[in-house]
């Protein structure tokens, strides 16, 4: 299945794009997808420890099983206020 990933804040600049769509097997783990993203955009790899991950409107950890239609967001620590 194909999963759309959107980057926010300076992750967008590090990736050089706002979104990317990647293939993964049904029920693949979110962590596997993130590794794929980092392999494709190596500048994001050094940010691994400060990377926040959401699926839809909720934060998820890397053990989450992706489902068809899930939309993933990757971004650095938030800074509202």
């Amino acid at each position: 299945m194909r999963i759309k990933v959107t980057f926010y804040s300076y992750f967008r600049e590090l990736a050089g794009t706002e979104t990317v769509s990647l293939d993964c097997t049904e029920s693949c783990l979110l962590g596997e997808l993130v590794t794929q993203v980092q392999d494709r955009f190596p500048k994001l790899k050094s940010m691994d420890r400060s990377t926040l991950i959401a699926v839809g409107l909720e934060y998820q950890d890397r053990s989450y099983s992706l489902q068809p239609g899930d939309e993933v967001s990757l971004f650095p620590p938030v800074q509202g206020g």
């Binding site: 959107t6 926010y8 804040s9 300076y10 600049e13 400060s50 926040l52 959401a54 839809g56 409107l57 909720e58 934060y59 967001s73 971004f75 650095p76 620590p77 938030v78 800074q79 509202g80 206020g81």
Partner: protein, 151 residues
């Protein structure tokens, strides 16, 4: 608990918000917090901050915080406004109002909400560098001001 959440590109008119305040006869404490853009970021002068949001997720995360707040404290009303887009120095980017029967719960809930939003709500700051600075840096760094900052 009455709730009002606004994420907007428009300036925050605090005076107007105060005039629109709606109190029950049991309200004893109203607290407002204005988060204002400071003139320096990481010791460098800035013109303002450009706020970026993952807006749908930000709304959802704010609503979840309001839910949690309601279970923890007896709050009569919460109003929160966060600006996105460019906000100039000395203008508020965030305005929070908490109304409750007593000040203890109003202060506790207001501070908790701001602390939690700074961990959970997907909004980011992009400092707006002064014109002179942008021109000087334009050849060496195509994206000044978008890297991590202390917040």
């Amino acid at each position: 608990m009455k709730r009002s959440l606004t994420i907007t590109r428009d300036p925050i008119d605090e005076s107007d918000l105060i005039q629109g305040r709606d109190l029950s006869s049991e309200a004893g404490a109203a607290i407002t917090f204005s988060g204002i853009v400071r003139g320096t970021e990481d010791a460098a002068a800035i013109d303002g901050i450009n706020y970026e949001a993952h807006e749908a997720m930000a709304r959802h995360q704010f609503e979840k915080l309001f839910e949690a707040m309601e279970t923890r404290w007896p709050i009569e009303s919460i109003r929160l406004i966060h600006r996105i887009g460019p906000v100039r120095v000395s203008e508020p980017s965030l305005w929070v109002e908490v109304i409750a029967g007593h000040r203890g719960e109003a202060f506790a809930a207001c501070q908790w909400l701001i602390d939690e939003m700074k961990k959970k709500v997907p909004i980011w700051k992009h400092p707006m560098l002064p014109e002179s600075h942008r021109l000087r840096r334009s050849r060496s760094d195509p994206n000044p001001g978008s890297r991590p900052s202390r917040g």
